[in-house]
């Protein structure tokens, strides 16, 4: 085996740098945070599409609200908008409808997308609006320091449920699936190729495409759940998720106790909202 010299290990560019505002690095995400893994996988899928000529990077728009996950928009080297908490889908819908040539992608935390932004999520899915939404589920409100999220496991300590969370977590996969958009899938940062594969596929589709990405927040969730060490938390999440071919939506329960099923829950090929609009108004 050849000995790699130290110099050759140093690099000044990364293959994905062309899709980043590299002058803003290092990013603010904590070491061991899952968001970077999620974003890296999304960018690799974009790169594949760009390289095969099926995606024009100048038409890609990232729209996010506010939160740790939402910071993704200001690191990516595309047109991007870092807007306000919960409203990314609404903003994105205006951009997409005003210029249907754009490939509009929303990234947000579960609070951003399904808590404060839940109403927009529901209606965008119902309309089969032609955008891709990535919801990064880290079970907690991370950016604001560890409060209850709609996905927090029951019984867990958070800073706003110091006696334990009395609420049942929201199964967003089931909620969105009920609205019959074109694509619903769940991936995990413990399985980056899955994120990449689903994103690649979604990029080739029309209509509303929703990808939940299970993620790790060692800094806040890890602390609450007793897994402060990033590797430990990663391994715990890995032990809880299970990949399944075409799982049924009844298997989508978000259960920290009995496990979380990854996979593609819904794949349809209905006309997206943009096409529907063209059919009614011409």
């Amino acid at each position: 085996m050849a000995v790699t010299s130290e110099a050759s290990l140093r690099y000044s560019t990364h293959p994905l740098d062309k899709y980043l505002r590299a002058d803003r690095l290092p990013h603010i995400w904590c070491s061991g945070c899952g968001i970077g893994v999620a974003l890296g996988s999304i960018l690799r899928a974009i790169d594949r599409r760009v390289r095969e000529g099926s995606l024009d990077p100048s038409k890609v728009v990232f729209v996010t609200g506010i939160g740790c996950s939402a910071r993704a928009s200001f690191y990516v080297g595309f047109d991007s908008a870092h807007t306000i908490h919960g409203r990314a889908i609404a903003f994105a819908s205006g951009a997409k409808l005003a210029n249907p040539e754009l490939q509009v992608m929303v990234v947000g935390g579960d609070g951003d997308i399904a808590g404060i932004g839940g109403n927009h999520l529901i209606h965008a899915a119902r309309r089969n609006l032609d955008i891709i939404v990535f919801m990064i589920t880290n079970f907690v409100y991370a950016m604001t320091g560890g409060q209850l999220a709609p996905t927090t496991p029951q019984g867990l300590y958070t800073t706003t449920t110091p006696h334990g969370n009395p609420e049942r977590p929201l199964n967003v996969i089931k909620l969105v699936s009920a609205l019959m958009p074109n694509y619903v899938a769940r991936a995990s940062i413990t399985h980056p190729p899955l994120i990449e594969q689903y994103t690649y596929k979604a990029l080739g589709m029309e209509g509303f495409r929703f990808i939940e990405i299970m993620s790790t927040c060692p800094e806040v969730f890890g602390r609450h759940a007793g897994y402060r060490d990033p590797v430990t938390l990663y391994n715990v999440l890995r032990s809880k998720v299970r990949v399944k071919q075409n799982p049924h939506v009844d298997e989508s329960e978000l259960s920290w106790e009995s496990g979380i099923v990854l996979g593609e829950y819904l794949i349809r090929n209905e006309p997206g909202y943009v096409r529907k609009l063209k059919e009614v108004v011409r």
């Binding site: 505002r21 803003r24 100048s58 038409k59 728009v61 729209v63 506010i66 200001f74 080297g77 595309f78 047109d79 991007s80 908008a81 870092h82 807007t83 306000i84 409203r87 609404a90 903003f91 994105a92 819908s93 205006g94 951009a95 997409k96 409808l97 005003a98 210029n99 040539e101 754009l102 109403n119 927009h120 529901i122 209606h123 609009l277 108004v281 011409r282």
Partner: protein
């Protein structure tokens, strides 16, 4: 150019079309819904789109997204809906997004008297959005002016890269008058300034001499960054006093710098003999002018000042029109609001607030009665 008989709300819709608005996002609310209904009928013919969203929050945010995609956009609502939009208006201010929001005032607070008029949102439009900003607001008093000021609102928003509020009310909204509707080439239409720098040198918040940054749209290859955090010229978040001060003062000063393009008003019977001045705006000014005419027939040396632009105030104009008068009466359909703004600039004359709450509009008789008691 053609003369059309129409309502104030239809005039807003027509004005928006003339100005080039092609994306309307809204949520139904009396007395604004008929703007969306009218546009839903006619905008598609012009290649535009009307979408009824799930709420007012979605509507304004969608309008902002559309604006960044390069399409002039608007939404319309009334007091309760406007309250839901204020967070996004703050976003529009810091991201310098051109957008027009029509607020058709109705009687509040809360659900109040939904079908009836009021002028009680005049402070809401100025002060409800959080943080520092100076969002212009225009108030029409007639159907013709609803048309003209809508075009002006779009022109200001595109010129200054700012949200603009069109502050109408239930009376102007639903009265019918004849109005001259113009062709696009018969009226000045302003479009946002485009960057002249190549994409790799473009900074989305780097202003020109006029304090306004050129605006690249999504999809044009400029890697635009719409940033709600306080940012430097590249759009990068900075937590420094220097960057923050520079940004905020520029946001305020770019509006002030263009005050001559923003500020508009009308004076009536104002000369160096005028002793009394009535200030009134929007639908209430119609009754106020009738009262002024009546008083003049009785020999009272009274004139009137009617701001069409409620925010920001052009201080010099207020000083000028009040410099020779003894008393100023501010007549408005609320508990006395804009009077506080005018009072800031009127140093010599005595200022009397004449708040007349009326679900219709204050009548000339009501105004006459109160004003007469102060003469």
């Amino acid at each position: 150019m053609k003369l059309e008989f129409m309502s104030g709300n239809m005039a807003i819709a027509e004005g928006a079309i003339t100005a080039g608005m092609r994306f309307f996002a809204g949520y139904p609310i009396t007395p604004a819904s008929d703007i969306m209904e009218y546009l839903a009928e006619v905008l598609p013919e012009k290649g535009g789109l009307v979408v009824q969203y799930e709420d007012e929050i979605a509507s304004i945010n969608a309008a902002l997204g559309a604006s960044w995609a390069g399409v002039k956009s608007m939404t319309a609502t009334s007091g309760p809906g406007f309250s839901l939009m204020v967070e996004a208006l703050s976003l529009a201010a810091i991201t310098e997004t051109p957008v027009v929001v029509a607020d058709i005032m109705r009687a509040g607070p809360s659900t109040g008297v939904p079908t009836k008029t009021s002028q009680s949102d005049v402070f809401q439009v100025r002060y409800a959005p959080h943080g520092e900003h100076l969002i212009p607001a225009l108030a029409p008093w007639s159907v013709q002016e609803a048309y003209d000021l809508t075009i002006k609102a779009f022109n200001i928003s595109e010129l200054v890269r700012t949200p603009v509020i069109l502050l109408s009310d239930a009376v102007v909204a639903h009265m019918w008058e004849s109005a001259i509707i113009k062709d696009v080439n018969e009226v000045e239409i302003v479009n946002r300034k485009k960057p002249s720098t190549p994409p790799n040198e473009y900074m989305p918040y780097k202003p020109d001499e006029d304090l306004i940054p050129p605006m690249a749209n999504f999809g044009e290859g400029y890697k635009v960054l719409v940033e709600s955090l306080a940012h430097d010229e590249r759009g990068y978040y900075r937590q420094s006093n220097d960057v923050y001060r520079k940004l905020i003062w520029r946001l305020i000063n770019k509006v002030k710098r263009h005050i001559d393009k923003i500020y508009d008003y009308e004076t009536y019977y104002l000369n160096n003999e005028t002793e009394y001045l009535i200030i009134s705006y929007g639908s209430t000014a119609r009754s106020a002018l009738a009262a002024v005419r009546d008083l003049r027939r009785k020999g009272v040396k009274v004139g009137m000042f009617r701001p069409k632009t409620l925010w920001p105030t052009k201080e010099e104009v207020i000083k000028e029109v009040t410099k020779d008068v003894k008393k100023v009466f501010v007549v408005e359909n609320n508990t006395g609001k804009m009077v506080a703004e005018f009072e800031r600039y009127i140093k010599k004359a005595e200022v009397v607030s004449i708040p007349i709450l009326s679900l219709d509009i204050p009548t000339p008789e009501e105004i006459l009665e109160v004003v007469s008691s102060w003469l």
